[in-house]
């Protein structure tokens, strides 16, 4: 798939091996294994409560797995990880927060360092460049608390990217966006993944908006995961094995629909319990 680029045969950027997580006696993740390669767009798909956020937190080092390990660039992940950019789902955006969009992006350069930063032209130019890359120049000077969902998302992406990470993780970035904004974000991410040769891992509970750009899918259900190219993973047998009950995959007008239970021959479903995937 990835025939261009210097290291076409290099190991994966991110390797998740046999990760299991149990919380309060409940098994949330069970032996999850997959990898993310540079320049690729990987979708982490699962319904609410399937464990997507938990998995991302394990990868980021915010949650210790009960079993398994995470390798970043071939080495076990260390505490401070410069090679990963993270865009969380929810941030505290008080209207009073004295941060302009460009300030938040600037924090992506050195927000984790102690002490007072020295204002430099380099920083300002880097911020401007990044704002331009995500089409956020128009509201660069606005308070972050006044931004719309989509604008916020772009600023957060710029914040994550300005540190030049090799991996970009996003937790349900499409959740609060309308269809158009969501598509814009997805297109933007795909472009960035290609241009900067970054690996993108994005979680969502609905896979259809990602179909055009997704190179690989990691499908989470019942705590277990199946990963690979979309057409190999999103099939009846694979998903049924994951869910633990009979599940059918239907394609309607280029959209994928995953439905539980058998469908009658006549085509009229007796009681289709649509799984919002």
């Amino acid at each position: 798939m990835d025939s261009t680029g210097p290291d076409a045969t290099s190991s994966e950027l991110l390797e998740v091996e046999g990760v299991s997580v149990s919380l309060s006696g409940r098994r949330i993740l069970d032996d999850v294994t997959f990898g993310v390669r540079a320049g690729e767009f990987t979708g982490l798909i699962g319904s609410n409560g399937a464990g997507k956020t938990t998995l991302l937190r394990v990868i980021l080092g915010l949650q210790r797995p009960t079993a398994g390990r995470v390798l970043v660039l071939g080495a076990p992940r260390s505490h401070r990880n410069r090679s990963m950019g993270y865009v969380p789902q929810k941030i505290m955006l008080d209207p009073d927060m004295p941060l302009r969009a460009r300030d938040l992006v600037a924090l992506g350069i050195d927000g984790n360092r102690f002490g007072i930063p020295t204002p430099s032209r380099q920083r300002r130019e880097a911020v401007d460049e990044m704002l331009h890359a995500v089409d956020a120049e128009g509201f660069g000077d606005a308070r972050v608390g006044t931004l719309s969902g989509g604008e916020q998302q772009r600023v957060l992406i710029a914040h994550a990217l300005i540190g030049r990470p090799q991996l970009l993780l996003l937790d349900e970035p499409l959740a609060n966006l309308d269809l158009k904004s969501g598509q814009e974000v997805v297109t933007l991410l795909d472009r960035i993944a290609e241009e900067q040769h970054i690996g993108v891992l994005l979680s969502a509970h609905e896979m259809n908006p990602l179909l055009p750009v997704m190179d690989r899918i990691v499908y989470l259900a019942g705590g277990r995961a199946a990963s690979g190219p979309t057409d190999q993973v999103v099939r009846d047998e694979v998903l049924s094995a994951l869910y633990g009950y009979e599940v059918h995959v239907h394609t309607l007008h280029g959209r994928i629909l995953v439905v539980a239970g058998p469908m009658e021959e006549s085509g009229l479903p007796p009681d289709p319990s649509l799984k919002a995937v």
Binding site: D94, I116, E137, D141, G145, L147, G149
Partner: protein
């Protein structure tokens, strides 16, 4: 000019000390307060002041300098709150309130015991509402030292603190020691509260912490400027309060001073109300939302915010 500056104002020793200490304390409160308001921790800040009250009362009972008690109480309270997780999660009001209640109860006990033991009068008044005119000049070096320490801590942690205020997960993922940063911030908060308790009383120190900062956050969208504005506003309120309190001696024939803290608190409150006035609100909101008119506003359907229309380009 005579009735604004009553005779002896500029030459009075206690007035000098009051102005110096008050201004230092206002600056410290302004710097820390911006973060306190931004993180929605007004209640926590106030509760810390009440714990400081217990500390100050305890110091009074023990016959030790109240400043020591205020700061010690504040630090103990900050430690307790950090354990509860106040600085990391917004709210936690209930646990905070319980700590507050217990502290005030303790303060009541200490004040009672202290008053009966030493049969001094005016102790409650001093501890609770401050007595800036009775600060001795030997306190100034200690105040200055603690203030430098407090501002120094804030200078050190303000970036990671800002980051964790936006999102603790984001900060943690970047390798920020969120717990440590939170603790340092609470320490700075405790110092600020302790210091301002000396000037305007433990119960009222919240005004100096929250008020100027809230005003500043309304007026500006950059954190550096917010801190400067908060400090200037705080110092202004303090100096005005000192002046008016000094003048109040001459206001009635009974020659009873009005408490300085009263004027400071009222000045701050009025300042905040002014920023609430309709025309000031809309003009600052518009300024806070500046965006270039060229960018098409595609997300207007999904707008999350105050719903104002795009303003003029800067």
């Amino acid at each position: 000019m005579h009735w604004v500056f009553e005779p002896g104002f500029f030459s009075s020793g206690p007035v000098h000390i009051a102005c110096v200490v008050g201004s230092i304390v206002a600056i410290v409160s302004g710097v820390v307060g911006v973060f306190t308001v931004m993180r929605g921790q007004s209640f926590a800040g106030h509760s810390l002041a009440d714990v400081a009250t217990a500390g100050g009362s305890g110091a009074f009972l023990a016959g030790v300098s109240p400043l020591f008690g205020f700061v010690a109480g504040g630090v103990a309270g900050a430690g307790a709150m950090e354990m509860i997780g106040v600085s990391r999660a917004r709210g936690r009001d209930l646990a905070t309130g319980i700590v507050l209640g217990a502290s005030i109860g303790l303060a009541a006990l200490f004040l009672y015991l202290g008053t009966t033991r030493s049969s001094t009068t005016g102790a409650s008044q001093q501890i609770l509402f401050g007595s800036i005119f009775s600060i001795v000049s030997s306190t100034i070096p200690v105040v200055a030292l603690l203030s430098v320490l407090c501002v120094g801590i804030m200078a050190l942690v303000h970036r990671p603190l800002l980051l964790s205020s936006v999102s603790t997960d984001m900060a943690a993922a970047r390798g920020v020691p969120v717990r440590v940063v939170g603790l340092l911030y609470m320490l700075a908060l405790a110092l600020a509260v302790g210091l301002s308790s000396l000037a305007i009383g433990a119960i009222l120190s919240t005004a100096l912490l929250i008020g100027p900062a809230a005003i500043a956050l309304r007026l500006t969208k950059r954190i550096g400027w917010a801190m400067v504005t908060a400090c200037v506003t705080g110092v202004g309120a303090v100096l005005l309060g000192v002046l008016l309190a000094y003048d109040s001696y001459y206001w009635s024939s009974s020659h009873a001073y009005w408490p300085v803290s009263f004027f400071i608190v009222v000045a701050i409150f009025l300042g905040y109300l002014v920023t609430e006035l309709p025309f000031i609100r809309t003009s600052t909101t518009r300024r806070n939302e500046t965006r270039a008119s060229t960018a098409p506003d595609l997300d207007s359907m999904s707008r999350v915010g105050s719903g104002q229309s795009a303003g003029p380009t800067r």
